[in-house]
Symmetry: C2
Subunit: 449 residues, 2 copies
């Protein structure tokens, strides 16, 4: 693309190219992208992709850059298509419980707009305040409350997508149900920028629960906490939030906040129930965990609830004080949660890499956080070896190497092992059906690393 040509402007200054070259994964590409286009409209995106197709230019679509797997990393020879400026809530239809948004809207901003009408946008990745809806669609982001209220896929009813050659595809619908044609919407959710560029999303909102109860329970070890999480499931309760926090994380929070969490137990389970049955469900949670808990309490007081949730809310900032924090996101069947957490502890011992764990226990999704001294490369040597052992552990337990962050660049080496040869072939065929020239985020997400 050159000055004087139609279409949006390409920024080629070093600062813009550096700022657009990576995400929060810790990955540093070998070079810088050739340029950055800040799209303001569907027409801008169409112009960029038409030109990219004509010139065979690889395009890396970029939202807020909060990804954790390197999917938005861009290097020499690649053009960054930044859609973060397309950030309008176009429509919010209260009675239909539907929002229509551009991809650059921040997740928390959308949820706040919904809250004004007694609704919520359910997916709530930890990065919600900074992450864009487009990026969360690209990764099928989850979050704390998705065990009950669904991940991003469950919230996306329809998409407007610019294909690699500039054609504009509409998928899905504005209705809750619909089965005309293939579910291209779900296929695009989680495709990490490799199939098309989302320029508009029709999203499902849900009633915002007006009651909430929070339960906190400490345990002698993480296995007991994991057993308690299974006991909650067995009791027939579906908490909106069910988080497990391990001893290493509790210690880090204590160090950062002056709390005494670790003295009260070596593992913490936090549950939030919501809706009209919130208090009754919290009683059931309390009963389910009491067999093994060292201490436990339930509250419907928002201030006390916020105190109880501190250990989870402050977990990552507390760990980040200790070094570079690399957040993994393996998932296992719920019944294997204890095996997974103790397995991660063994990996930590074996490799000498400090690993703390907190987990969305409600859906078996663990966040092992590798804490690596500042300056050390997190993607090689002992840290990377430890991460790989964690991936292998998850797969051995019948789980997956990524529950909600995506494959990006960093997990490609493990993808074939998880999906198998036939699936890899089908992925290549689907990719070719959408992007025959392979210009959309090449080398990411669905190829061997």
């Amino acid at each position: 693309m050159h000055d004087g040509d139609p279409g949006p402007q390409v920024l080629v200054d070093r600062a813009s190219r550096e700022a657009a070259s990576t995400d929060w994964s810790g990955h540093r590409p070998a070079g810088l992208p050739d340029g950055v286009v800040r799209a303001r409209s569907t027409e801008d995106v169409v112009a960029v992709l038409r030109r990219a197709t004509a010139e065979r230019t690889p395009v890396v679509t970029r939202g807020a850059g909060t990804g954790l797997a390197g999917a938005a990393s861009a290097t020499t020879g690649e053009l960054v298509l930044d859609v973060s400026g397309m950030d309008r809530v176009l429509d919010l239809r209260v009675d239909d419980q539907v929002a229509v948004v551009e991809p650059g809207v921040l997740v928390a901003d959308l949820d706040a707009a919904a809250a004004e009408h007694g609704l919520m946008y359910a997916p709530d990745p930890a990065s919600a305040a900074l992450a864009s809806v487009g990026g969360s669609i690209a990764t099928n982001a989850g979050g704390l409350r998705c065990a009950k209220h669904g991940a991003t896929r469950e919230a996306v009813l329809g998409l407007r997508v610019v294909l690699a050659d500039g054609r504009v595809l509409r998928t899905g619908r504005a209705t809750t149900k619909g089965v005309a044609g293939y579910d291209l919407t779900a296929l695009l959710v989680g495709s990490e920028g490799t199939l098309g560029v989302v320029v508009e999303a029709t999203l499902r909102l849900r009633p915002r629960p007006r009651q909430q109860a929070t339960t906190s329970a400490f345990f002698a070890d993480v296995a007991a906490a994991a057993r308690a999480a299974v006991a909650v499931t067995r009791a027939g309760v579906q908490p909106a939030v069910l988080e497990l926090v391990d001893a290493a994380t509790l210690e880090a929070v204590d160090a950062a906040r002056g709390t005494d969490l670790r003295a009260r137990g070596a593992a913490l389970l936090l549950a939030q129930t919501d809706g009209e049955g919130a208090a009754a469900e919290a009683e059931a949670v309390l009963a389910a965990v009491s067999a093994e808990a060292l201490e436990a309490e339930t509250t419907t007081d928002p201030a006390r609830a916020a105190e109880l949730m501190t250990a989870r809310r402050e977990a990552l900032p507390a760990l980040q004080r200790l070094g570079q924090a690399v957040i993994e996101d393996v998932a296992v069947p719920r019944s294997r949660l204890a095996d997974a957490v103790t397995g991660v502890e063994e990996v930590s011992r074996r490799t000498g890499v400090r690993i703390a764990v907190f987990a969305h226990a409600g859906d078996g999704n663990l966040h092992p956080v590798l804490v690596v001294p500042e300056g050390e490369d997190v993607l090689s040597g002992a840290p990377w070896d430890a991460a790989c052992q964690v991936f292998a552990l998850a797969q051995r337990l019948g789980g997956t190497l990524t529950g909600e962050h995506g494959v990006g660049l960093l997990k490609r080496a493990w993808l074939r092992e998880e999906l198998g040869d036939v699936s890899m072939d089908v992925h290549a065929a689907v990719k070719a059906a959408f992007d025959p020239l392979g210009i959309l985020n090449p080398g990411k997400a669905v190829v061997d690393g």
Copy 2:
């Protein structure tokens, strides 16, 4: 396929071919399929598809044959692959809330197996007692309680699928969350036998709600009932079941059952809330509908609840006493429900075709039931004209021509209008990526009719 060759036996007697030639749609193919294979194992399915690929034989996969759009219709030159005999529940892991089943398991049987452990299989199409899990996956079946608990897509975690050329593809996972690779699972759900043959499904179970409350309210007209349904939504309540029944349906039920429903109002709204907050939510429902209701009541007594639900449960059998009942399934944004129901009434008046309506009001999914005299062709003349006007109405209101039954053969003529040219091209490319020879259920679901 010939006797003496390896692979499962092909039935070629006329009775078998006739029995396997259509579904519940009313469609009668011009001829009979050439043969029927009753598969008992994945190996059988692989053998059939390898041979079919070698011989370019079109294959129509068949479950229980309860489809309503003709997707399982088969005619001369086609082979029917009947998987209804693959009907084992292979595993039911209570703590993981996961079931692994073969495709021939009946939906209600799976739900009953889950119920023994305090769990439920949420999708509950009206045909659940007779419909197979495989067929419900092929159509992404919904049902009464999917507004709260999700349709089939939300219940399918992973699939084992035989591709057109006999390769075996595994998709998805056994964990609640997972984003490694494209969501091929969701792509296959609702693909109506055109992308592969499901031979095993890993399904998500949910806690079976132990409390339930049922609310019944009569209204002076259907518009008032639809407004009341919106008022329930506005109150922030998410009922598991929210059904609207129109005057024509009430009259049919009265005629069949000797009830006095029509005398009490011209439209009925039935709501079921469930979970620990069921009673409190029912109070909120009652408050929300009371502004317009002629009479309303709420009960937590199961016997009384069953009485109240009679009007909905007996709706279809009652209508079937009056003639051939052709069940459509358009969906509209919830706020357009009143417009949709009154629009269908106008179509009925205009065309002279008797049309009764009941609707999943919770998700805007209407079942206009065309009642056609026995012997009359339901797929031509005035009945078909009326159906087409109903499809056009739904699309005009921002909805879809099929909320949960699928496109099959019967709705293909309306598909391009709904999806658009770009989407039709992408559908063709995806179809070719899976089935380059076009042998899987050719001419169905994703092509112009």
